[in-house]
Amino acid sequence: MVTKTLDQPLKAAQYKTELHPDWCPGCGDFGIINAIQQSLAELQMPPWETYLISGVGCSGKTPHYINVYGSHTLHGRSLPYALGAKLANPKLTVVAAGGDGDGYGIGAGHFMHAGRRNVDLTYVVFDNEVYGLTKGQASPTLKIGEQPKSLPLPHISQGVDPLALALTSGYTFIARSYAYDAKHLKNTLCAAIQHKGMALVNVLQPCPTYNDLRTKEFFAETLEQDGFQVPRVYYLTEDGYDGQVKNPQDTQEVNQKRQAAFERMSRIEDRVALGVFYQIQLPTYDELLKKNLPLLNQYAPVDIPYFDQDMNATTDLSSAQDAFVV
């Protein structure tokens, strides 16, 4: 039974646990958990109907600091856990969270396939370009040629562009935000959670201990562009960009929006765009599943009855067994 009315408004503080995060001082993760708590409060998500699922790494500890049902799972597996929970009980609001190593490294296969499924989930990735918990090795998003102070030698693998990967994998909501832009991050998370389908929010997040390249100062810098001083970080909406597909049946519009998104999400230039690059409303996996399994129009999978009050198993097997009768 999904709660419809609450007897009092939920406050952000009620989404906090009594635990103090053990992240380093100045870690971008603090900004992200605050924004998660704020967004859940803004959407008035009942904590008991919310399920936050993480992988392993610094960000893996996130559920322990947020007062909703939480699962701190295996390295790279937050998405399979999120899919399993959401498909079994679609009444839950399921949010997956994890680091860039977790999602784009050891969990990259799941990242791609989650896009194909368009399950109604939100995936928040803490992207700081390093594996912090094991002392700062390069993560899949670190660019080639770079050498944060934790690396003994310059990095000679290409960095992956997770947003472009999400676009080609089928994610239906693709956004980038920044850990210290509290308002933008909160609003983006709200939009992602409200989006019906698979949503990715890639959050740029300074690691003050190991990544001395992507610091708070780096993101706050201004750059010279065409003779003007411009901030490094800017919002897509500033120049009227709109990544939302208005008519998913209009293949021309879809193609245009995909191409525009691909151009804008790239981080080849020095400036960093924040916002929703692409959004499209397509049938969710859950909706398609109901077509294949009509019983799910009546029950969530977890609620399909199979025993009575006396705990007798009540499933009538005849439809499956009759074919074997001789």
């Binding site: 008991w48 929970a85 498909l87 839950l92 396939h113 199979y306 705990m311 007798n312 198993a313 499956a320």
Partner: protein
């Protein structure tokens, strides 16, 4: 009319040519005629072209296994006879297409009776009568071989019509008539061949034939699938792998139950999705085979430490690595018990036949819920792909056990925020080891799960005293399971209490051993009993030790190289088993081999017998 009460029939052909369908038709026809069948299916890891065969044994009473000899070999191309003709017994018969098979070139007994069958001519006649093109009718070779076989065995043609009606239903029902028509032609054609009426292996009329519609002709994969459905499993994940995929497809073919069958991107996703689904309260399972099971090891550790009910089926096949992908082995026993780092409270069960497959599949979910942990079920390819006529599963009095689930407080009022946001000590340390479990979605019972060691609320801790308390609590659940799981589900001693020879085995070797015991007793005057072990973890050490200590001479019989059950018994009981019979060709142990190996151990005191029969 007198006749045989136990014959072995075989059909073979290239994969994709309908060998399976022929065997299914034959099995159902013989069952419809009042007999009992047991069949094994052997095939390559290949889609089309390589040799496959199906061997079906027919008896006048319930039959649990195959024998090695063949009484009637049905072929429609040349390879099957080249490979299997030597297995035909003296006085047995070969049905063949004289256009492609030259009997004089075959290595076989001189007394084999030859039954040439002009397949092309029969199919041409059908083409002329129906107006269809011969290429469309080529598949009828299968019905032709089966009908010819029935004629030789002295079984009435009506049995094939019964079988066809059962197989072709709904939109395919119109196929019955033409198939019956061609079957009749084949039946008549055989009766034109000299020697058909004197064939030495005609079946005696069935004694007390069971009523029509009173039995199932079913394989192990479907038996497991039915058990899962009955248990309420409504969430199944898998990554395609032979032979586990058969069960997954069976579940997918029945959308009416609402079961979410999810084909995941790999076994890592498959197992972790099932575990996560398990946290929501749904009865969740994943099915795989050896290589996929290896990939799942990390996830199983998480289910163990987070105390999540989940059921994992490992349909064992030949290994290591890709090994023999479509062949039989019991090679995963020790891995199923010990695979994964550290100590995990894990229940491992292995069914021995169709009824046990149904029952264990059902019980696995009760155990998973009751002990809040992972249950591994270990069938083999042998069980999954064997076909048997059986009395239907008794599913009338089955009880569901959900274990301890915490609901919202009785006086909780919907929308009460203050109470709704309360947390709950999910991992309370209890005497039994089982802690009441809330499900996400329950107001006021918020908790956390983690693969790290954790407090009662599920938060990370590294405090030694909490680590000890939680680790001990989890492992205690195994003691509870060992105490509570009924003994007859743990192990069973078949045969007399005192015997010359005690065979210890597990899994689907049960069938050939039980059948073999009868032969050993009736033909060789050797008293044999048989200890079949089903609960592998927690291991029923006391019960097994008691039986072994009373036994005169003990041998283990297993389908793996190293005698994994023998090792497990030594580890758990300290008892060394003096004789081992093993088979690791990838083919199942037959009744014939059980008899021969038992006699060898009994007479020659052989320490290690390696079985090799079968193509």
């Amino acid at each position: 009319m007198s006749g045989k009460t136990d014959i072995s029939w075989m059909i073979g052909g290239p994969q994709g040519s309908g060998v399976d369908s022929s065997a299914t038709l034959f099995s159902r026809a013989m069952t419809a005629a009042g007999y009992w069948i047991f069949g094994k299916r052997e095939y390559h890891s290949n889609i089309k072209g390589k040799h496959s065969y199906f061997q079906v044994r027919v008896k006048n009473e319930p039959v649990l296994s195959n024998v090695d000899p063949v009484h009637l070999l049905a072929t429609f191309e040349s390879t099957t006879a080249e490979i299997h003709a030597h297995e035909i017994v003296d006085g047995g018969a070969l049905i063949y297409d004289p256009k492609v098979t030259k009997p004089e070139e075959l290595e076989m007994s001189k007394s084999v009776v030859l039954f040439p069958l002009n397949y092309d001519e029969l199919i041409q006649q059908m083409a002329d009568e129906t107006g269809q093109h011969v290429t469309k009718l080529a598949i009828m070779k299968n019905v032709i071989s089966v009908a010819a076989s029935l004629a030789l065995l002295g079984v009435d043609l009506s049995a094939i019509e019964d079988a066809l009606k059962g197989l072709f239903t709904g939109r395919r029902a119109k196929l019955v008539q033409s198939n019956v028509q061609v079957a009749k032609k084949a039946y008549d054609a055989i009766m034109q061949v000299a020697g058909w009426d004197t064939f030495a292996f005609k079946m005696a009329a069935p004694t007390n034939p069971p009523a029509k519609g009173s039995r199932l002709v079913i394989n192990g994969a479907a038996s497991c699938g039915l058990g899962k459905l009955k248990a309420g499993c409504r969430f199944q994940t898998y990554y395609s792998i032979t032979p586990a995929v058969d069960e997954c497809i069976f579940l997918e073919e029945h959308p009416e139950f609402g079961t979410v069958v999810f084909q995941a991107e790999d076994e890592l996703a498959a197992v972790n999705m099932a575990i996560s689904a398990g946290t929501t309260g749904i009865r969740a399972s994943t099915s795989t085979s050896g290589p996929g099971f290896c990939l799942m090891a990390e996830g199983l550790g998480w289910a163990g430490i987070s105390e999540v009910p989940v059921v994992v089926f490992d349909y064992q096949r030949g290994g290591p690595s890709t090994g023999l992908p479509t062949r039989n082995e019991q090679g995963d026993l020790l891995f199923a018990i010990f695979g994964g780092h550290s100590d995990v409270p894990k229940i491992v069960i292995s069914p021995g036949d169709m009824h046990e497959a149904f029952e264990d599949s059902f019980n696995a979910f009760n155990f998973a819920d009751r002990y809040q942990t992972l249950v591994v079920v270990l069938p083999e390819k042998q069980l999954a792909n064997s076909t048997q006529s059986i009395v239907p599963f008794d599913d009338k009095a089955l009880k569901i056990d959900r274990g301890q689930i915490v609901e919202a407080d009785k006086d909780y009022r919907e929308g009460d925020v203050e109470r709704g946001i309360q947390k709950y000590p999910r991992y309370q340390v209890t005497e039994s080891g089982v802690s009441p479990r809330p499900l996400p979605g329950t107001p006021g019972k918020i908790f956390w799960m983690t693969g790290d060691e954790h407090t009662e609320f599920g938060h990370i801790t590294e405090k030694p005293e909490i680590r000890m308390a939680q680790h001990e609590k989890r492992m205690r659940k195994l003691d509870l399971a060992a105490k509570e799981i009924p003994l007859d589900l743990q192990y069973k001693l078949y045969g007399p209490e005192n015997a010359d020879l005690t065979i210890v085995s597990w899994g689907a070797n049960k069938g050939p051993i039980l059948d073999g015991m009868k032969v050993l007793s009736s033909e060789h005057k050797l008293t044999v009993n048989f200890l079949h072990i089903r609960l592998m973890c927690p291991f029923p050490a006391d019960g097994v030790a008691k039986i072994l200590k009373n036994a005169k001479r003990v041998l283990t019989m297993e389908s793996n190289f190293s005698g994994q059950l023998a090792q497990l018994i030594t580890m758990r009981t300290g008892i060394q088993i003096p004789h081992q019979v093993v088979k690791y060709t990838g083919r199942p142990i037959s009744e014939t081999e059980v008899v021969a190996a038992s006699l060898k151990v009994h007479q020659e005191k052989t320490e290690r017998v390696v079985l090799t029969y079968g193509h």
